[in-house]
């Protein structure tokens, strides 16, 4: 029953936003509905809800963590949207508002699915629901970004469907009566799965959902989409939506690890993780467009996530923690980047220079976000990135550890050049933009997100560490 509410409430909000006529009142639907959703999710932390009778729906710790992150972040974003959409009166916001609500509905579906087919349906719905966000500005550049996003996304999601079929083939036909794509039944019968098909399924699902996550070499849509979408939409894409395909990869990883393919899948994850970090390092250096820079930083962090999962239970623990840290920080970064973009009327170093003088709070948040995302203390990403480095050394992956440190350093230097030039200095000319200074409702949401990152860096609540630990062990087949 709870599953129906989790998926249905945001979907109803989406329909309501389509029906409401007034552009002024419509955005208020979001914070109202999202807070109901978040309170339902928080209630799930007390006791995990029981799986539905046929086993199609259920919540485990990994799903709950992603769902909580998504629900909380979308609530924060929706508060930002109230002011943002008021400033962007020239654009109708009906589709934008409805999209945000449908995104939460699709995210909920992905998180509570215990069936790989159902998970796929949610993932595709998520792709489609997010296209209007990228196209919000309705100009030629955003059109191009949307088209590339749709084409790459559809191809990726198609390959994931093929991988899902391979998974159904891996299940021996005669021995099992239940549906061959139920995750729990796949794990239960893991010993009988046909290994060649399972390997094929893992590769195709990794490529398919990896495209949605933006892992290299399937990341080419990412800088375009993040660059052209409004800041808040970039935050939704980078902070909320990338975690869903990651969850999909975690599901198939869990099946592989219980079927005895642990080393095979770990090897692939380490490889693709390091490749993504390397790609990000190459493109982030000399990047003049600060929104595209954030996109490459997202490619890097997605790489860190899969790399962490490839390094065993401890690495998985810190990867899951990093999922939270990266999501929160990316949200703050994109929101403040959006504020800076608006204040200067451009998103490259040529336009934006000396942001600290024009929008001091947003610029400070942007700087802090940069410090946090590159893994500096006292922010939480330091804990997770350091933990991943330690688990690489502990598990004897010296090469991976070396690459990890090298790429982190390169990305730090590359990002620093852009960020410092945007934040410090004196603005070149007087702006003719209407935006003067920070508006409280547009800096409060990133402040909330950054405080959460700082808080998690200083103190990890025990219920969170417990959930992360249980989830990491379950994913790696350790009991």
């Amino acid at each position: 029953m709870i599953y129906l509410f989790l998926i249905g409430i945001p979907a109803l909000m989406g329909l309501a936003s389509l029906l409401v006529k007034s552009d002024d009142w419509r955005p208020w639907i979001l914070p109202l509905g999202f807070s109901i959703h978040l309170s339902l999710v928080i209630a799930c932390w007390k006791t995990l809800p029981t799986p539905s009778p046929l086993g199609w729906f259920g919540l485990d710790e990994a799903g709950l963590i992603v769902l909580t992150l998504a629900s909380a972040m979308l609530l924060v974003f929706s508060i930002y949207c109230l002011e943002y959409l008021r400033l962007r009166k020239e654009r109708p916001n009906r589709l934008f508002t409805a999209s945000l609500a449908f995104i939460l509905s699709a995210v909920s579906l992905v998180c509570v699915s215990r069936h790989m087919g159902l998970l796929w349906v949610g993932m595709e719905a998520l792709t489609l629901a997010s296209a209007p966000l990228i196209y919000f500005n309705h100009n030629q550049r955003s059109l191009e970004a949307t088209w590339k996003y749709l084409m790459m996304g559809s191809l990726g999601i198609g390959l994931a469907l093929l991988g899902t079929f391979f998974l159904a083939l891996a299940m021996p036909a005669n021995s099992v009566k239940t549906d061959p794509l139920l995750i729990d039944s796949l794990i239960l019968h893991a010993r009988f799965l046909s290994l060649p098909w399972l390997k094929g399924a893992f590769i195709f699902l990794l490529v398919g959902y990896g495209t949605k996550m933006g892992l290299s070499p399937f990341h080419s849509w990412k800088p375009d989409a993040y660059g052209e979408a409004p800041g808040v939409a970039g935050g939704v894409l980078a902070g909320v939506m990338t975690s869903c395909p990651f969850l999909g990869i975690l599901r198939i990883f869990q099946i592989c690890s219980s079927a005895g393919l642990l080393e095979f899948s770990q090897g692939l994850l380490i490889l693709i993780g390091l490749l993504s970090m390397a790609t990000a390092a190459v493109f982030v250096i000399g990047q003049r467009d600060f929104k595209r820079m954030l996109a490459y930083s997202s490619v890097e962090n997605m790489g860190i996530l899969v790399l962490g999962v490839g390094l065993g239970p401890m690495g998985t623990f810190f990867a899951l923690l990093h999922l939270i840290n990266n999501g929160l920080t990316k949200g703050a970064l994109f929101l403040s980047a959006g504020n800076i973009h608006r204040a200067f009327g451009g998103k490259t170093m040529d336009h934006a220079h000396g942001a600290l003088r024009r929008v001091p709070i947003s610029a400070a948040l942007f700087l802090l976000g940069f410090i946090a995302i590159t893994g500096s203390p006292p922010f939480a990403s330091f804990v997770s990135e350091f933990g991943i480095l330690r688990s690489a050394l502990d598990s004897g992956h010296l090469g991976a550890a070396f690459g990890f440190v090298l790429f982190l350093a390169a990305i730090f230097i590359g990002m620093a050049t852009t960020v410092l030039s945007v934040v410090y200095g004196t603005p070149k000319e007087k702006s003719d933009m209407a935006v003067q200074g920070d508006s409280p409702f547009m800096v409060l949401p990133p402040i909330i997100l950054m405080s959460a990152v700082l808080f998690l860096g200083l103190w990890l609540p025990h219920w969170l560490t417990d959930a992360l630990k249980r989830s990491a062990n379950a994913l790696n087949g350790v009991l």
């Binding site: 069936h115 087919g117 159902l118 796929w120 349906v121 595709e124 719905a125 792709t127 489609l128 296209a131 196209y135 309705h138 100009n139 030629q140 550049r141 059109l143 191009e144 970004a145 949307t146 088209w147 590339k148 749709l150 084409m151 559809s154 191809l155 198609g158 469907l161 093929l162 079929f165 159904a168 083939l169 036909a173 549906d179 061959p180 794509l181 046909s194 060649p196 098909w197 800088p223 375009d224 660059g227 052209e228 493109f283 990047q287 595209r292």
Partner: protein
Amino acid sequence: MQELSQILLVLIALFSFYALGNSSLIGCIRIIALQGMCLGLLPLIIDRQGFGMQIILIASGMFILKGFLIPRILSYAIREVKIRREMEPLIGYNASLLIGVFLIGISFILASRLPLPENIRTSLLVPVSLSVLMMGMLMMIVRVKAVTQVIGYLMFENGIYLFGLAISYQAPWLIEMGVLLDVFVAVFVMGIVINHIARAFDSINTENLTNLGD
């Protein structure tokens, strides 16, 4: 019934092949509509134990959506476009036909190597599904018109659906409907974007979409 399904499968493969060599946009849309209709009929014909409500539901859903609604959306999307032919594909028509033949050959070899049960391996379904899938991907890559790229995507998707039929994995009807609905909405969204591309650039060549990059 066995022969009829074989004929349908050959037709499905031929339609893909025909689309690869066709330069007319409307022609390609018609071909993909015919392929969609064949695809809708296929589950009714393939010999199966049960013949329940669900199969009829899926088959009619496929038939209506892929045979009529989706082609309608695509022709609606390009109604304002003046140039109705694919002008300069990245790979010419003869060359793409040759690659198509090559892909069909690969599919047959690949299908015979896959560790599939005997009765599936000998049927035409797997090689046809693989070749339709690969020709769809080819079309997505080498064509420059946005509509033909969508048609390539649809073909790719059709190939995947055929593969699902081939391994006789009967997905629960809810999921099958979900997949179908997702594809439909995807084409719907793409149709809208094509329409906007047509208005913004006065053409639907994706070659215009090259402003972004590093």
